[in-house]
């Protein structure tokens, strides 16, 4: 099936999952506002939101299996889009399930919070589908505005409000950079369509145009804020610590994944012709982010902050895939996102299930001796930590995720040997904090006088079980995921042909 995007009906068909999600979310928003706030209403709207997201997920997987393509236009129809959509929807469903439990416990009766998760997911889906900077901008803003509100959802908590304020101010600031970047790229090339930008850069020889290069740099700064790459990461630990725990997981996994998917799409479709110009910047961004994220994570005693810095470290690992700039990198990227999303959301699910409104279980000391009291939770947390570390077999998908990124980096036309070395070394460093949590859970005694652990809710137990199973099953058998992404992938293939001057690794260093 080949969609002709100049015909409105076919454009709508190509956008059907996105339209269905947005339409359904609007209906749910009306339902949420229809009744007074109550715990039951909050739960009902949450379950409705999960059902809607699950329906859209099935639709996305069907579309991915059908392997439709599209002609030129503002929307991309390829397996990269469907695979990324699936990751966003999974992150959204997990966040919704955890939110239902967390909101009941913290007595947050605002049913709208669930609908905002759906809007954020819809924004991410638009971002990864966009082949036009205008659609990209609208997607980013749809996602960001929803997540600003979500960060401040706990209105009784001053920390939540402060987290929302910081996230909002820095998010809006970064939007300014992104937008100026878009304006300058538009000014240099005369179009906002990604494919046309790529063509015009090559046909008009715009590689050295200052306006284009400044525009790309500003775009990169804007994206670096959104994905929390060092040195633009300072907001992330504060915001992650203050936001409600399920939303923190959603921000660390889903929002980051969405911004990354858009970054990859723009860079591989519009800017392959200036690879040698942006490669240096992405190279340094990746190296600094890996080093800063993993080293600072070692010093954290608060689990939320530790996971925040760990997510910054993972940003660096994913940037390695971008630095190699090939279609293989896009496959490695989607696989990494799925593994990372499941492991991160799983770790936050354990925090949600063990926390109470008086004791949120955010410090590492709270997890000492967990094995004696909750062996199941301790084992699940161990799987998530090993997956984030990239440990073979027990870390499941995590190992293959890092393996594919390394493979993409080494097999690129310009092998990224030094980045691969930094990736391996910083992974070894990250064992210092992931394994210390595992050791604390299994070896340390339960502190005397520790508050008893509450019974875990059904929602968080289900999320944890499903995440562990998916991580281990696809860790033993990764081919189905890889094939789903590889099939009919149009993204990045022009990068290999259109890359006129593959910069050797040595040239990337000053």
């Amino acid at each position: 099936m080949n969609y002709d995007l100049s015909i409105p009906m076919q454009l709508s068909a190509a956008l059907l999952p996105d339209l269905l999600l947005i339409g359904g979310a609007m209906v749910l928003m009306l339902v949420a506002a229809w009744r007074d706030e109550s715990a039951e209403h909050q739960r009902a709207v949450g379950i409705g939101s999960i059902l809607l997201a699950a329906g859209v997920l099935v639709m996305v997987l069907v579309q991915g299996a059908r392997g439709a393509t599209a002609g030129p236009g503002v929307i991309a129809v390829d397996s990269f889009r469907w695979a990324s959509d699936a990751v966003f929807l999974i992150a959204g469903i997990i966040a919704l399930a955890l939110s239902i439990e967390y909101n009941s416990r913290e007595r947050i009766d605002t049913a709208e919070s669930h609908v905002l998760v759906l809007f954020a997911v819809a924004g991410m889906m638009l971002m990864v589908a966009s082949r036009d900077l205008m659609v990209l901008f609208l997607g980013i803003e749809l996602m960001s505005v929803a997540v600003y509100v979500l960060a401040g959802m706990n209105r009784r908590s001053g920390r939540s409000a402060e987290s929302a304020l910081k996230y909002f101010l820095l998010g809006a600031f970064s939007t300014g950079f992104l937008l100026y970047g878009i304006a300058l790229v538009y000014g240099a090339t005369g179009t906002t369509n990604l494919a046309t930008i790529g063509e015009r850069i090559n046909t008009f020889n715009l590689q050295q145009t200052p306006m284009l290069l400044v525009g790309i740099a500003l775009l990169l700064v804007g994206f670096a804020f959104k994905i929390a790459a060092a040195p633009f990461h300072m907001w992330a630990p504060d915001v992650y610590e203050g936001a409600p725990t399920p939303i923190t997981g959603f921000m660390a996994a889903g929002v980051k994944a969405g911004a990354f998917a858009a970054l990859l799409r723009v860079w591989l479709e519009a800017f392959p012709g200036v690879y040698s110009e942006w490669h240096k910047a992405v190279w340094w961004l990746a190296a600094i982010t890996m080093i800063v994220g993993n080293l600072v994570a070692l010093q954290q005693r608060n689990l939320k902050r530790m996971l925040a810095y760990s997510s910054i470290g993972h940003t660096g690992f994913i940037l390695v895939a971008l630095a190699s700039g090939t279609s293989q990198a896009a496959t490695a990227f989607v696989f990494y996102l799925l593994a990372y999303t499941l492991a991160t959301m799983g770790a936050f699910a354990v925090m949600v299930s063990l926390g109470t409104s008086t004791s949120p279980r955010e410090s590492i000391e709270d997890y000492h001796g967990l094995w004696q009291e909750r062996p199941g939770m301790a084992v699940a947390m161990t799987v998530f930590m090993l997956a984030l570390l990239g440990f073979p077999i027990f870390g499941g998908m995590g190992f293959f995720a890092k393996w594919y990124v390394l493979q993409a980096a080494m097999q690129a036309p310009a092998p990224q040997t030094r980045l691969a070395v930094i990736l391996v070394i910083t992974t070894a460093v990250s064992a210092g904090y992931y394994l210390s949590l595992v050791i604390a859970m299994f070896m340390k005694p339960r502190p005397a006088g520790a508050a008893p652990l509450p019974p875990s809710g059904a929602w968080s137990r289900a999320v944890i079980a499903v995440s562990v199973i998916i991580i281990l099953v696809f860790g033993a058998w990764p081919d189905p995921v890889v094939n789903l992404v590889n099939k009919h992938s149009s993204l990045g293939t022009p990068a290999q042909t259109a890359m006129p001057r593959p910069a050797p690794e040595t040239a990337a260093l000053p």
């Binding site: 001053g158 402060e162 987290s163 304020l165 600031f173 300014g176 937008l179 100026y180 504060d238 610590e241």
Partner: protein, 98 residues
């Protein structure tokens, strides 16, 4: 057509906005500086659309709409922090480290 002049003015306005965000400590003023950045970009878009046609102007309409939505959410967040702290000065808002 004064495109170059408009672009220069837009760059100056954008820089003023960035400097304002980085140096001021009042949440409302920071937010106004962000809006200044967005409107500086709008000026660029309009100037470019003199060269390339309507796309830039369409973009400006989208940016204004999004900025309005962002302002609604942003002011709501600022009000909620004011209810907790009785101030919107970022110096006094340091519950979270860093």
């Amino acid at each position: 057509m004064m495109v170059a002049e408009a672009l220069a003015l837009s760059a100056v306005l954008f820089t003023i906005g960035v400097v304002g965000v980085l140096t001021r400590r009042n949440a409302i003023i920071i937010f106004m500086c962000v809006e200044l950045m967005l409107n500086a970009v709008n000026l660029s878009f309009v100037a470019f659309s003199r060269m390339y046609g309507a796309t830039g102007q369409v973009f400006v309409v989208f940016v204004m709409t999004v900025a309005a939505a962002e302002a609604a959410v942003g002011l709501a967040i600022i009000i909620s922090i004011f209810r907790h702290r009785q101030t919107v000065d970022l110096k006094n808002i340091n519950l979270l480290k860093g």
